[in-house]
């Protein structure tokens, strides 16, 4: 079907529209920085999510186009057309195509950028853009409906505001998930998109789109083809059934099937999940450097370190990488994160127990001392000069090795009740 752009203005106006749509999409994606560079899935999710801003702008533009169309009194021209409905919907399709191109371009740019940044590509998940574009279509159709019915230019900005409000109402679960295109506030590492949720959204969005565009001009609708009328009935019925009788899945995302690990065979070996391993090299460099004093102290390091969501995290010979916030998506991590990871040589059950008494209080001070010791050895921090452990900190490293060895062995075996704070030899004598 040919796309007609007669009512969208001249080439310059169309370019401005495209730039505006691209601009708000970019603003939406960049509003939370460039964290999406660390994950292809997150990158495409951010693009889909940009519809929360692109949609309202597209709806407002469509509204303006249909106000123009109505004020031009072309009803007769359309009514006489061989396919009046095609003529009527062409401007809406034009705006939708323009907005879809903007979103598509953003998808290409962001996913390629994520790929260049080192993220693993999941082309099989590209389908997630389709529901986002259908939601965009529903918003465009609502713009056409309001523009036609109102025939007033002053409603144009309100259409944008109203469509954005629909997104907010969806986000806060006041209305069904039709207008929620994301994006997630998480990292999507170890997660994937949940198809039933998107099918639910797509069916509802198609229903809203067809119902809105059909209601925009019921007179011309009567002249539409039997195929369109059948499609309208089918989609409206499917949407009604979906919204009324089917409970939407709880979340857009679900745990991903087992992800492969990407390992860097240094000592210690560090592995990260395939879908988010951007900072791997940086982590390896910092952990190898920080682990040297541990190795000199005679500590036996775990066979490898992995993120907590990795399937091998429960392995008794596996240490845990202590990621905070968006560490996993960043290009680099700080030394403290690397030190904290080295100080977690095993995932002990007590760490995730609901009963706080399972984790002895001494664990926290021992853990913090070990992290600090690693950072002090690397020259990143200074040892404390006062407090109960000041005398121990004043000892030569060789004299501190015994506590480090004992502590590390206890942490590796999850013997958390055997942990003791470091003490200088004379303090023990006293």
């Amino acid at each position: 079907m040919a796309l007609r752009a007669e009512w969208l203005g001249d080439r310059r106006a169309r370019l401005i529209m495209f730039a505006a749509l691209l601009g708000v999409g970019t603003a939406s994606i960049m509003s939370r920085g460039t964290r999406w560079l660390g994950s292809w899935k997150l990158a495409i999710d951010e693009v889909g999510g940009s519809v929360f801003l692109v949609g309202p702008v597209a709806a407002a533009l469509t509204c303006a186009v249909y106000v123009r169309l109505q004020q031009a009194q072309v009803d007769e021209l359309l009514s006489q057309a061989a396919r009046p409905w095609r003529g009527w919907t062409a401007p809406a399709l034009g705006v939708w195509a323009l907005a879809s191109c903007a979103v598509g371009l953003l998808a290409v740019v962001t996913t390629v950028a994520a790929r260049i940044a080192g993220a693993t590509v999941y082309p099989q998940l590209s389908w997630v853009m389709l529901p986002a574009l259908l939601v965009l279509g529903a918003e465009v159709a609502l713009g056409a409906l309001v523009g036609t019915r109102s025939q007033r230019y002053w409603v144009v900005p309100w259409v944008g505001v109203g469509t954005f409000l629909l997104f907010l109402l969806t986000r806060f679960h006041v209305i069904p998930v039709v207008f929620d295109t994301g994006p997630t506030s998480g990292e999507l590492i170890g997660e994937t998109f949940d198809p039933p949720w998107f099918v639910y959204q797509s069916v509802a969005a198609i229903g809203v789109a067809t119902a809105a565009i059909s209601a925009s001009h019921t007179h011309l609708l009567q002249r539409s083809s039997v195929a369109w009328k059948a499609f309208l009935c089918l989609s409206a019925t499917a949407a009604l059934i979906t919204l009324a009788f089917i409970r939407p899945p709880v979340d857009r995302y679900r745990p991903a099937p087992t992800e492969a690990d990407v390992c860097y065979p240094e000592h210690p070996t560090v592995c990260m999940t395939e879908d988010g391993h951007r900072p791997l090299l940086d982590i390896v460099g910092k952990m190898v450097s920080l682990a040297r004093p541990l190795i000199e102290a005679g500590v036996r390091l775990p066979e490898r370190f992995v993120p907590i969501e990795s399937t091998s995290a429960a392995d008794p010979h596996t240490g845990i990488l202590s990621f905070q916030d968006d560490d996993q998506l960043a290009r680099s991590v700080d030394e403290e994160m690397a030190a904290e990871s080295l100080a977690t040589p095993r995932l002990c059950a007590a760490y995730s127990s609901d009963d706080p008494r399972v984790l002895p209080e001494v664990y926290f001070s021992v853990y913090n001392t070990l992290v600090l010791w690693l950072l002090v050895q690397a020259g990143d921090k200074s040892p404390p000069t006062d407090g109960s452990t000041a005398t121990w900190w004043a000892l030569a490293p060789e004299q501190q090795y015994a506590w480090v060895r004992t502590t590390y062995a206890a942490l590796s075996d999850c013997r958390l009740n055997d942990l003791v704070r470091p003490q200088a030899p004379e303090a023990r004598l006293r």
Binding site: A72, E76, L78, S79, Q80, A82, R83
Partner: protein
């Protein structure tokens, strides 16, 4: 070519007085002038004849084929319609407007290209083919609307107030073009300007309150009712006054 209107009732609101109420009207020879005061039902009747507005009651047929029947799409292709007011996008050129109309009319590309050239020449806009609509005068815009109406090589051409709002020179230009085209198809033209009706049409229909008050040859209409000055306007006013 015969346009037959049978038992047509057109209302805008339920239970309202019909805007058009015609028991039987047969149009075979043209050009036909459709005259009446504001609200007489001229535009409604033309919209109905154009296939744009299905009457609540009755039927319209062209050479025996119903305009609102199963073959509406085919029958409507035989009708060209120039609405009273239409504003094409100002940024489009004359050629682009005609192309757009050809797309709406679902003309095949090759045929559309040929027709585009023909209708632009027919309305005398060949020198302005690349000019934007916003740069055209009122008269040229009316001619463009006429070109659009002529695209599908209509057997029936409906013109709703084609000269309204034009200055005398522009009116004369549009009138000359219509006069030339009118011989090729059954042309039905509504107008307030009795001078136009008298000079272009061979038959006249006077509508009043949606009903046909008079139908006959234009010359006889003016001769019999136009008073000592043989004025078309006087003939029209005399007819209306008798209603």
């Amino acid at each position: 070519m015969t346009v037959l209107i049978s038992g047509v009732r057109c209302t805008y609101h339920r239970d309202a007085i019909p805007a058009v109420s015609i028991d039987q009207l047969e149009l075979t020879a043209g050009p036909v002038g459709l005259v009446g005061v504001n609200g007489a039902g001229k535009s409604t009747l033309l919209r109905t004849l154009a296939g744009c507005r299905q009457p609540q009651e009755g039927s319209v047929s062209i050479d025996g084929a119903s305009l609102y029947g199963r073959r509406r799409r085919v029958v409507a292709q035989r009708v060209g319609y120039m609405p009273q007011e239409i504003q094409f996008p100002g940024e489009l050129s004359v050629t682009q407007v005609v192309d757009y109309a050809a797309w709406l009319r679902a003309l095949k590309p090759r045929h559309a290209a040929q027709r585009r050239a023909d209708v632009i020449v027919a309305v005398g806009l060949e020198d302005r083919a690349d000019q934007r609509v916003r740069a055209l005068s009122g008269g040229m815009r009316r001619r463009l609307a006429l070109a659009v109406a002529l695209l599908s090589e209509p057997a029936v051409l409906l013109l709703d107030e084609p000269t309204t709002g034009l200055d005398p020179e522009q009116r004369a230009g549009v009138r000359a073009i219509i006069g030339e085209i009118a011989g090729r198809c059954l042309t039905i033209m509504s107008s307030h300007v009795m001078e136009d009706v008298a000079s272009i049409t061979s038959n006249v229909i006077v509508l009043h309150g949606g009903r046909v008050l008079h139908q006959g040859e234009t010359d006889a209409f003016v001769r019999e009712r136009g008073g000592p000055t043989q004025s078309a306007e006087v003939a029209f006013l005399t007819t209306i006054a008798g209603a």
